[in-house]
Symmetry: D2
Subunit: 343 residues, 4 copies
């Protein structure tokens, strides 16, 4: 996403956590943790793990070389391992990445990155829930004309409206917390996903790797993507609810309705009198974007054989945008909550 569009509908904080530098750093940390775990489990020697740790210290990747490798191999890991290996003292080079496959590193790194992203999402969601609860405390008893099927219906109160916004958000907060243990897990399968390449030590190494990275343990999930896709479904639900809130705000702040006003709307280049509910509209746009992307993530469930380059790459092309859209949506919802004025 361009920087200008990102200022409106993006999320600088989450974008930084997904940037190349962050991803490569996460991958290096996974390789390091794998070496350490493999040493403890006896797959490689302690000296090898030390040599690998020494090689990683101060490692500055050659990004052009990584890009070339990415283009050639379809994954960045062979090039990254190649660059790291040149820094490992022999005879320990082969100990780096021993038994692992690119997908082990990439998926585990993704989980390393996802934890902090979920932290941000959860924190903003909690703040939003607080803000809405504050609005309810302040205005919950005030009368509001309810509308059904786009027509004024009967009076209700703001408490009912705010409850309908709050309840699903509280549910998503719990859902995301509940997902963490089964979602944020190491990937360790080796070339064909059966851990056979770890000389019988695969389960032990997976457990030790998980420990080092603060992740959970799981069977290899090279082709088993439902926890990740389920997460994106929840993200889309979240942006969907925020889109509903945005739609309500845009409707309630219509010139002819004015059930609420926004302290600061967007300016127009041609109509100085206007104050546009920009953030509310972007909430709707992000909801629809994420809804579509959630459908695409579901398409990525159909993996061929033991690893599908096609289905997996489809995740890469989709998931980051969903994280950013979710972060942006929460950011905007928080801002707009502070702008709502109810007479």
């Amino acid at each position: 996403m361009s920087a200008l569009l990102s200022a409106l509908a993006g999320d600088a904080e989450i974008e930084a956590l997904l940037a190349d530098a962050a991803q490569i750093a996460a991958m290096v940390s996974v390789e390091l943790a794998l070496a350490s775990a493999s040493a403890e489990a006896g797959l490689i020697s302690a000296e090898a793990a030390d040599a690998i740790a020494a090689a990683a210290a101060g490692f500055e990747p050659d990004m052009d070389g990584l890009a070339e490798g990415m283009e050639r191999d379809g994954v960045v890991v062979p090039a990254l391992v190649g660059q790291l290996r040149t820094r490992v003292a022999e005879p320990y080079r082969e100990a780096l990445h021993r038994g692992a496959t690119s997908q082990d590193i990439i998926d585990t790194a993704l989980m390393v990155q996802t934890g902090p992203i979920l932290d941000i999402i959860a924190a903003r969601l909690a703040a939003l829930i607080d803000a809405l609860a504050g609005l309810k405390a302040a205005h919950g008893g005030k009368t509001l004309m309810a509308h059904t099927r786009m027509q004024a219906a009967l009076p209700t109160d703001w408490g009912a409206k705010l409850d309908s916004w709050l309840e699903p958000l509280q549910r998503y907060f719990r859902t995301i917390e509940q997902m963490r243990p089964s979602l944020l897990v190491v990937q360790l399968g080796g070339p064909v996903g059966d851990r056979a390449s770890f000389d019988g030590k695969g389960d032990a190494i997976a457990a030790l790797l998980a420990q080092r990275l603060g992740l959970g343990v799981a069977r290899p999930w090279h082709t088993v993507r439902d926890p990740l896709v389920a997460l994106t479904g929840t993200l889309a639900l979240l942006t969907g609810t925020l889109g509903k809130i945005g739609a309500d705000i845009a409707l309630l702040s219509q010139t002819e309705v004015q059930a609420l006003t926004l302290a600061e709307g967007g300016g127009s280049s041609s109509m100085a009198h206007k104050s546009n509910p920009v953030a509310a509209e972007i909430l709707v746009a992000l909801a629809r974007q994420n809804a579509g992307l959630a459908g695409t993530m579901q398409q990525a469930m159909v993996h061929e054989y033991e690893r599908s380059g096609a289905a997996w790459a489809l995740e890469w092309l989709t998931l980051p945008a969903m994280f950013v859209a979710t972060g942006a949506s929460l950011r905007l919802a928080l801002r707009i909550c502070g702008q709502i004025r109810i007479a």
Copy 2:
């Protein structure tokens, strides 16, 4: 879905549970239970509830009249209530549907219908898990050439393959069971979703209604659709995994691969020698259909105001197809499991 297409890619059992007759019967049962609950809660008299029960006994809806009402009102309930009321002895006519809005009846009836559909899905899923576990018991130790990125990689065994099919299915079974309490709940909100129309007895009536219908209790959820959309996300995950299994079966049974054979494939009108992995291909098609529909359900999260005829109708246009696709996918997966032959 036409009967011919349904024979291939539909599900007669689930289609019957979603048919007009079943839906109207469910709605009538909801109106009856509402009258009974309202009487117990003191909103209407016991005599009124009896009169309503008498009216419902032997009620045969005039389906043409219901269709006219549906077209005119956008919901069938006004016409249905109208037909029922003509059978209710006065002065009890107004007690029927007292306090309720169409959406209360329609959504609650949907939950009444959804329970048995989930029963079917869960039963088939359990049977499929058993069948796959049986295949694992019989063949798990046999060698299988693993393929990654569409190329032969290294040998693994059938146990690893079958585990990757089984694990997510076991997870969905648990997820669906866990969803039931928060999903299968009554809808009772009244015209604008705040239960104000029930004279302070709304919460009590909701609880009694839930009891009578074997559903759970919840706040009104006229515009809060995430539990329903989350269910469809899980259905799409399920068909996604079955699509992955279908893709694997189609690949593994290729003429040139023959890692498995299918006892009965489909015949060709022009090539008598062929045995096509028809069911496997349909699993892929259903996965992609459901993935797309799951995205559309996410679009339906954006409700305007207290009731969006647009977002709600979008659910009606989407959810039944997802139930049928899921049922069909399980039906086909079960069949194909019985056809797999591993040398």
Copy 3:
């Protein structure tokens, strides 16, 4: 689609053209035309063609048998050809379907069915364009408050509004007419799509077949689906524009805005004072449904090899719903145009 939902958001006329009976009749007509064309081209004898014509006369398919065949073979044609062949006098049985593959019959039959569906769509579109032009003639000069970003902006006139509704509809009318020649073409490829099974007479037979069926000629398109998918893209654009019109009507007829009123809205089961813009809302729902289905049709572009049972079946699961949604959308738009009252 259930009959009740169809009354609201379906299209009985188009549904009938897509029903099993219509599809089987179209397939039989294709087999007949193929026999006749094959006789003229010299692939089969004139006596064989006569015997086939005699067999088809009065043919009543055994629908249960066809459903069994559909389930077994993934296509209905082997069973249908089997039923027909039992009625063909020997030695002419093998002349029926000679050289053809199931897909030739199914795709060509779809084109036979699609022509009349496009006729309906075009006729309704023309009527809608007329109705909107009539509204413009009557009200074009009247002032209308324009709204941008959900806020009152500056006055414009109804002519500008109606032009923005009309222009894209006129474009779709032209597009659909322009698509016909390249879309409504015969499919004739034989088992693997290269016409080799027609003994060098494939091109001639295709031309003669096209002539008999009132279709155009094209290279075999077993895996080349872009004209069909492009059609569905145009259908989605059409329902998208009608969704925009529906959104405008729902907004303009809001209680607080009343820039237009609707002569007959839908009734409410709980609020007698309401008149809901039901048809306008359904236009939005159908737009969103078709948008999602258009994305699914695009997913069906990825055919494996010379025939993908998965991608092809995905079309079957998607295309009929798009035709019905488009027909329904036009039907509702026409109705609502007659209900618009502008002060």
Copy 4:
């Protein structure tokens, strides 16, 4: 898209044409051309146009200021016009952007950017058609085992296969050329899309603006997005066909099939013997990504009123990714064509 992912599945050339700098430059060029056209049409004075041209010469936007404006106003134009205006000598400041609305500038700038992007797409498409024609000339007569429904069927030849790849590509080339005149048009509507703000000179200014920018003329299309959405439909068809080609290549180059080999496949971090059809798989991934995004663009057809910030922003969140995916897909298809070896 991150630089690493872009190396695999992005398009540096098209990304540059979509970058902030390119977009701002296009907007400035539109403001300049508008001033010039407005002067010729007599809406502003020649001196004003000269002052504006002088202001634009050497203009270096304050990107942080633009980002702030974007976030506040939902569009960058008010901030951009503000920055430019400080450079315009008085009394000519108000002549800049006179009569126009932000959407006029943004949409017209998008068309200015789209032309060169379509040039790239068309050039690559032409090169790909040439490359495939070359493969046909070299190998068209060679025998190829055809596969239907994932099973070996009957022999065909490479000519038939390559024709099925070529024909739709040739069609897209023509479609894109045919779309240009009606797609690449100026947007000029003023605040509410009726050109009323141009004092009766709107049509003349639009024509002069078009002339200066090398674009076509059209009625204001603030809410009429079908030409743009139709373009994205064609882009998805194109990537869909390239996805089909990718699927075929991945299948034909399977270890067990070897109907073709790829001169250079991707390397594996764990299996040195493998040569992965990486580019073929990415073609499938891009096809599925674009298919999903095409559905989202269809969702953006539903504009509310005279300008929908929600629907319009949804385009911004979707269209650039589709351009990049299409460019990347063509880039990869061209590369893989050069790698195909047929025995």
